[in-house]
């Protein structure tokens, strides 16, 4: 299986582990991730305002590039996933945004949201299958109580991202089961960690991440997994005194598959 792959800026710098283990695991699962040539940063947050066109163009370029290759576009970072899916939705459904973006980009062939964007987790669930992964696991996380941290960007808005039930998701829990762990369901798993506001308001980030960690710990999680570098940062740095180790889910996947270094 070959997919176009959009790593995003953070995965090239502070979140190299998310990327590295993601690629290694994909290889072990027989998947080729072809990095899109000359991709540009998605901007980190989806530009919500309808008259913001320029800020959406980098995403449209990546989407059009995957369309050209005739491949589904895989994202790994939650933020890129959120931005690309939302922009793609605009290109498919918002005529004005679509027309303006196409006029600006002058692509060889107009882009109308044809590319299928999937998150790495969706690739595992829908293209590989968690059952298959279970078979390939060499070092299962038996007995480990792992909490999935979805945050906000992976699932919402649910109608656009269409990844899982945004209020009661199970894709990461199923992933945890596939690698032999025991998922811990805690209700704060889809609440925000404080996001980018951490830059100017550490107290807010502490409060938000603290509440997530408190709830995860309270419900018995030994560790948390995430797909988002910013969530990882906040949950590690702004803990409000609660101490739960947080990992990228790809790191656990690589370890389970026996390809972690």
């Amino acid at each position: 299986m070959i997919f176009s792959y959009y790593p995003g800026c953070t995965l090239k710098t502070k979140a190299k582990d998310l990327d590295r283990y993601g690629r290694k695991s994909a290889e072990a699962l027989g998947i080729t991730l072809e990095e899109i040539p000359n991709w540009q940063c998605c901007g980190g947050v989806y530009p919500i305002s309808k008259d913001e066109i320029a800020t959406k163009l980098s995403s449209v370029r990546a989407l059009a590039s995957a369309k050209e290759a005739g491949q589904d576009l895989v994202t790994l970072c939650s933020a890129c996933h959120n931005v690309l899916k939302q922009v793609n939705n605009d290109m498919a459904n918002d005529e004005e945004i679509c027309a303006k973006a196409n006029r600006y980009l002058e692509l060889e062939e107009e882009y109308h949201g044809e590319t299928n964007v999937i998150h790495y987790l969706e690739m595992l669930r829908d293209k590989v299958g968690f059952d298959k992964i279970k078979e390939l696991v060499k070092n299962p996380f038996t007995g480990k109580k792992i909490g999935a941290y979805y945050g906000c960007l992976l699932l919402r808005p649910g109608k656009v991202l269409q990844m899982d039930n945004p209020e009661n998701p199970k894709i990461m829990e199923d992933f945890i089961r596939a690698i032999g762990g025991t998922p811990v369901i805690y209700p704060m798993r889809n609440e925000c960690c404080g996001g980018y506001v951490t830059l100017e308001d550490k107290a807010l980030a502490n409060k938000r991440s603290g509440k997530v960690l408190e709830n995860a710990k309270d419900m018995g999680a030994d560790m948390l997994i995430t797909a988002c570098p910013l969530c990882l940062y906040n949950l590690n740095k702004n803990t409000d005194g609660y101490d739960v180790p947080v990992y990228y889910f790809t790191e656990l996947l690589a370890e389970a598959l026996g390809v972690k270094d």
């Binding site: 039930n165 209020e167 009661n168 369901i185 209700p187 704060m188 419900m219």
Partner: protein, 663 residues
């Protein structure tokens, strides 16, 4: 040549504000055959009708056109007026210049133009009208009620009271419906069972009423006055005629871990069961999904202990066919599933429950014998949060767009009862609006606030977080103090929206009864015919038509019964003379019409024909039973040779209308 009169109605300003009615009347005067044309303020009024009657006589009219509202509104009125003036009622045509013209247009000039065109089309049609005479069909003096909840029970009792036979079909093993699960009823707080079970017993004892429990409607044929219904009696593996309801089988059954639906899965029952003590009929039923004997042939305990030999593991589904004159739909409701609302953590905590579950937790026959205890640990809750409008008034696609109507009142009841029984418990109710129209309803709600000290907070709950120590953090808005609240609760009760029972949709198809987008049955007229379906002979009772509380359901149930009684009291029904007719000379015997006829009105037979060359030929031709035909016209479209035609709506009449419009 016909002598046609045209009558243009103002309908007050309903038509006249948008259509120049005088110009319409004037324009109609020059149409061929029109000998008289006028306008009037209210044509349906007595004076308006007299105008029509007098004109028919004065101008010797042979046909009339009334340019007015929809024929569904007043066609019958004008036909009757024409008839009293000596004109055949089927010589009356309506041009609908209200619903199809004035109400949907804004500008007078194009609206007037359109009204004239519609009038011309009607005149063109009247030229080809022929007098028709309505036949008669007999009425089967027996009614069917589908659904045995309080709506169905009340309807059946009222019909039986009038002396007619009535059958109730109920898919559960007992009648009683949702009301059996409710503890107390607002606004009087009398016990639901105390007022319901006598009615259930009345049903069982009334010799005019027959209860088909654990049964479903499988097929419906026929038409008003003469329905033929197939009822599936599901195998309950117990002979109803022998079982005495002693309950020994339910005590001895070794399979004791079946989720008890009567208590909404909050406790267990046995595989052979009687839903509750006052069940009607009080007969055991074996749940085939759990019975070991039925699943793998190993057990047979109930059969061994049954003293009357009622257990029959070999019982099969049986089918009964019955004739009815009228059918009442009383299929009721269910609370919606809460999968789309897990921000309230319903799937994550046993102590987040629905209001119906709460009813069971406060009911003496419930899983806690009426003591309010938390499902998770059996402890007494000290802080309870009620959340209103969970899935109601929701246009996001997650819930239902309508107000479920009953939640405000039952939540006030729950809150009040908790405070009465457990004064040490703090009760919060989060509301968007408190809707309490109804006799003594607002007083009831205010009592909850003023006398019982229930904390009503204007705002919604946004997130519910269950914790490992059993407490539940509720994060909510208090809009009046502009605060975000964080309440540590022991129990959270969700007022889930209600929706029509899932069986309603397939039933609507069988009955050819219309539904709205929410799967509620639509009434023939929302104000004036609220208990009748637009399909003749089908009546509506209870929540299947729209959300209702018990008093309203019972009123509507009796109203539906009155309509049924009115129908069954007639010996014969006047048939619609606008039925299909086959031209035997053109019919080629292909059976196309027979296949599309939804009423089974068309039959084929071999007939002798004298041919132009004076020989005799035997040909297979269609004929229509006019008593069965409902005039839907499907056959006229299906017929490849154009042999089928509909009286009153013949192909030539419709073409004349189209020609007049396109001219």
């Amino acid at each position: 040549m016909q002598r046609i009169g045209v009558f243009v109605c103002h309908c007050g300003t309903n038509i006249a504000a948008t259509v120049d009615v005088k110009a319409v009347a004037e324009a109609m005067k020059i149409e061929p055959g029109v000998v008289f044309s006028t306008d009037y303020q209210y044509m349906c009024s007595e004076a308006g009708q007299n105008l029509i009657k007098d004109s028919i006589k004065e101008h010797k009219l042979t046909g009339i056109v009334v340019c007015s509202c929809s024929p569904r509104m007043h066609e019958a009125t004008f036909r009757k007026a024409a008839q009293s003036a000596g004109l055949n009622p089927y010589m009356v045509e309506i041009a609908n210049i209200r619903e199809q013209c004035s109400w949907i247009h804004k500008d007078m000039i194009p609206a007037t133009e359109k009204a004239i065109i519609l009038g011309k089309a009607a005149v063109a049609k009247v030229h080809l009208n022929t007098p028709l005479t309505a036949g008669e069909s007999p009425v089967v003096k027996r009614a069917l009620v589908i659904g045995g909840g309080i709506a169905g029970i009340q309807t059946a009792l009222d019909i039986a009271e009038a002396g007619f036979e009535v059958d109730i079909v109920e898919k559960q093993p007992t009648i009683g419906g949702k009301m059996t699960q409710i503890d107390k009823t607002f606004p009087t707080l009398d016990c639901a069972a105390c007022i319901l079970t006598p009615k259930m017993v009345d049903c069982a004892q009334n010799e005019k009423i027959k209860i088909y429990s654990y049964s479903e409607v499988e097929d419906v044929k026929g038409f008003v006055g003469n329905f033929s219904v197939t009822i599936k009696r599901k195998a309950r593996y117990v002979d109803e005629t022998k079982c005495t309801g002693c309950g020994i089988c339910t005590e001895k059954c070794p399979m004791k871990k079946v989720p008890n639906e009567f208590n909404l899965g909050m406790d267990n029952r046995t595989a052979i069961y009687i839903p509750f003590a006052q069940a009607v009929p009080k007969v055991a039923t074996i749940d085939a999904d759990y019975c070991n004997m039925l699943k793998n042939g190993k057990c047979g305990v109930c059969q061994k202990f049954c003293t009357v030999g009622a257990i029959d593991y070999k019982q099969k589904d049986t089918f009964v066919e019955e004739k009815y004159g009228a059918i009442v739909v009383a299929t009721g409701f269910n609370p919606i599933k809460l999968d789309n609302f897990d921000e309230f953590a319903y799937s994550q905590s046993k102590d987040v429950i629905t209001s119906l579950e709460f009813e069971r937790l406060t009911n003496a026959a419930g899983p806690t014998s009426g003591t309010l205890l938390r499902p998770s640990d059996g402890k007494h809750p000290h802080t309870i949060v009620f959340v209103q409008c969970v899935g109601s008034r929701d246009t996001s696609g997650c819930g239902k767009t309508y107000c479920s109507k009953i939640c405000c009142m039952y939540t006030a009841k729950h809150a009040m009862l908790v405070r009465e029984k457990y004064p040490d418990t703090e009760v919060y109710v989060f509301y968007i609006d408190v809707r309490t129209p109804g006799k003594n309803f607002d007083e009831f709600y205010r009592r909850a606030v003023e006398e019982y000290g229930v904390h009503y907070i204007k705002g919604m709950v946004g997130k519910v977080v269950p914790r490992s120590d059993g407490s539940i953090m509720v994060q909510a808005s208090d809009l009046l103090s502009n605060e975000q609240l964080h309440i540590s609760a022991d129990l959270v009760v969700l007022a889930a929206a209600i929706e029509p029972d899932k069986s309603a949709r397939s039933l609507a198809t069988m009955l050819t009864a219309s539904m709205d987008t929410n799967d509620f049955f639509t009434e023939a007229h929302p104000k004036l015919r609220p208990v009748e379906s637009p399909t003749a002979g089908i009546f509506l009772s209870g929540v299947c038509q729209g959300p209702k509380d018990i008093p309203e359901t019972v009123s509507q149930a009796s109203a539906a019964a009155a309509k049924v009684i009115g129908l069954l009291a007639k010996d014969k029904l006047t048939c619609n003379p606008c039925v299909a007719e086959a031209n035997e000379w053109m019919c080629n015997g292909c059976s196309s019409c027979e296949k599309v006829c939804p009423y089974g009105a068309i039959t084929y037979s071999d007939k002798e024909f004298r041919m132009p060359d004076r020989t005799t030929a035997i040909r297979r031709v269609a004929s229509v039973n006019p008593a069965v035909c409902q005039g839907c016209g499907a056959c006229t479209v299906a017929c490849p040779s154009g042999a089928m035609d509909l009286k009153g709506f013949s192909n030539s009449q419709i073409m004349a209308e189209v020609d007049a419009i396109c001219k």
